[in-house]
Amino acid sequence: MTQPDAFSVPGAASREKSFATSLCDFFYQRRWSWGSVFTGLAVWEFVSRVIVGSKLFLAAPTQVLVALFELTVSGELEKHILTSTLEFLVGYSVACVLGVGLGFIMASSKAGKQSLQPWVSGLYATPTVALAPLFILWFGIGILSKVVVVAVLVVFPVTINTETGLRTTPTQLVETVRAFGANARQIFFKVSLPSALPFIFAGLRLGIGRGLIGVVVAELFGARAGLGQMISQAAETFNMPNLFAGVTVLAVAGIAMTSGFTWLEQKLLPWRE
C-alpha cells in the first residue's frame, strides 16, 4: 500500500535545489511579469524626462530612487515609517481581536447577530475613511486618531468573514464529532474554528489594504509625522520625487504584507489545496 510516487509531496524536490537556481527559476518563471514591470518603468522615465520634462508635475523613477536614498540618509524616512508602522500595527491588532470576537458573537447567538448585523453591514458599506477629520478632531493629531481610523476600517471585513466562516461550517463534520460524544466547546474548537480559519485569514488579508489606506488618509488630515504626512507635505511644496517616494514605500509595504500573509496561510493551513 505504500506508493510514494503516486503522492509526491509538492515542494519536496525544489527544497534540494540551490538558492541560486531557485532565484533564476523565480525570474524565469515570471519573465513576462518582470518584462512588463521594466517596460512600464522605462515608459514612465521617458514620459517624465522627455514629454513632461518638469519635476514639478511628474518625477521619473530614477528621481524617486534618488529621493528615497536622500530621505533614508537624512533619517527622515525612518521617522515617518516608524510612526506609520506603529499606527498601523496597533490599529490592525485591535481590529483583528475585536473583529474575530464580534464575528464569534454574531455566529453563536441569534440576539448577537440581530443586534450587530445592521451596524456591521451599515458601517462596512460606509466609506468611514471620510470620517477621519472627525476622529482627528476628537482624538488629536497624535497617533491615537490614526489607530482609531485604521481599526474602524479593518474591523468590519474581519467581523464579516469570521461570522461567515463559523456559520458555513459543514454540518456533516459537526455531526461526525457529535456522534463521538463531543460537547459544544469541543465542536467549536475542533470543527467550527479550524473550518473558519481560511475565511478569517481572507478577512485579515482584506484588512491590510484597508488599514494602509486608513493610516495615510488619517495622516493627510493632520499629523506630526508619518508617511501620509510626508506625502501631504511634499505635495504642498510640489516635491514630486518625495511624494512618489512615500507612495512607493506604501506600495512595497502593502505587497510585502499581503504576500507575507499568503505565505503564513500556507504554513498554518497546509491542508488546503
Binding site: 500500500m1 503522492f7 461526525t176 457529535r178 456522534a179 463521538f180 475542533k190 470543527v191 491542508w271 489545496e273
Partner: protein
C-alpha cells in the same frame, strides 16, 4: 450465535416527523458479535433507525438499550461510519482516526499504538501523515472505518458506507470489511441499498417496509464463512437476493414513482 448475550434490544421504537410516521413500533434483539444488515426501499426509515441507535436523533416513542444501558444520546460505546467519509480536512489521517479517543479524553501511548494497528489493519500503513485530500475515496472510507473502530465501540453502526464508491472498489471494500470484522467480531448494524452487499456480509438481514417504516421480515443468511467474493455467483446466494428483492420490489416501485412525481 443464538446463545450469545443480547447486545442491543429495541422495544416499540417509533419515530414521527410531524404527522408522518417514519418508524412504527420496531422491536428486535441483536446478539453480541452479530453482523446485521438493514435493507429496504428509499424512505423506509432504515437510516433514521440507525441514527436513533447512534443517538443522533431522538425517538418519538419506545426505547433502545445497549448492553443494558438506555440510549439517550451519542456516546463512545458506538462507532458511526458515515455514508460520506466526513474526515476533517485540516487533520492528517492519524489525527482524524484518533478524534474519538481525543474527544473522550482517552489519548495515550497505548491508544496511539492501537490507532496505528487499526490503520495497518485497514491497509493504510504509511499514510498516517497524509491529509484527506491526498487520498482516494476508497482510502478515505477506510479511515472512516478505522476512526469508528478507534473508540473500541460495543456496536458499530454503518450507514451505506460504500454507496459513494465505484462498483469494483465497493466489492473490494466488502471483502476488506469482512476481514477487519473477523479480527474483532464487533456487533455491526449495516444499512445498505444493495441487496447482494447485505447477503454477502450478514448473519441476519432485516428487510424494512415503508409507510410506515417497519421490519417486514428477518432473514437468516446461512452461508459458510469466510466468504470469498465468488460466493456471490452461487445458486444459494442468488436465491437469497431474489427472495429479498421480491419482498421489497413493490415498495421500491411505489417509491420510484413518487420520486418521479416529485
Amino acid at each position: 450465535m443464538t446463545d450469545a448475550p443480547v447486545k442491543l434490544s429495541v422495544a416499540d421504537l417509533t419515530k414521527r416527523f410531524g404527522s408522518l410516521e417514519v418508524l412504527q413500533n420496531i422491536t428486535t434483539e441483536i446478539r453480541n458479535g452479530e453482523f446485521i444488515s438493514i435493507v429496504g426501499p428509499s424512505g423506509c426509515g432504515k437510516t433514521t433507525f440507525l441514527r436513533i441507535i447512534g443517538g443522533l436523533e431522538q425517538a418519538s416513542g419506545g426505547e433502545a438499550h445497549l448492553d443494558g444501558r438506555r440510549i439517550e444520546g451519542p456516546g463512545a460505546d458506538r462507532g458511526f461510519v458515515f455514508q460520506q467519509d466526513n474526515l476533517l480536512p485540516w487533520r492528517d489521517i492519524l489525527a482524524n482516526t484518533e478524534i474519538g479517543p481525543e474527544i473522550n479524553g482517552a489519548l495515550s501511548p497505548e491508544q496511539r499504538r492501537n490507532t496505528l494497528r487499526l490503520l495497518k489493519l485497514v491497509g493504510l500503513e504509511g499514510f498516517e501523515h497524509y491529509y484527506p485530500r491526498q487520498l482516494s475515496g476508497g482510502m478515505r472510507q477506510r479511515v472512516n472505518l478505522a476512526r469508528a473502530l478507534a473508540v473500541d465501540p460495543a456496536l458499530l453502526l454503518m450507514d451505506e458506507p460504500f454507496s459513494a464508491l465505484d462498483a469494483q472498489t465497493r466489492e473490494i471494500m466488502q471483502t476488506e470489511l469482512l476481514r477487519v470484522w473477523e479480527e474483532g467480531r464487533k456487533t455491526v448494524l449495516f444499512v445498505t441499498h444493495q441487496i447482494d452487499e447485505a447477503v454477502y456480509l450478514s448473519y441476519r438481514i432485516f428487510v424494512f417496509a415503508r409507510r410506515p417504516g417497519r421490519i417486514n421480515e428477518i432473514i437468516d443468511v446461512d452461508l459458510p464463512r469466510p466468504r470469498p467474493l465468488s460466493i456471490k455467483r452461487t445458486p444459494r446466494f442468488v436465491e437469497y437476493v431474489d427472495h429479498i428483492w421480491k419482498l421489497i420490489e413493490e415498495d421500491v416501485r411505489v417509491s420510484v414513482l413518487e420520486e418521479h412525481a416529485g
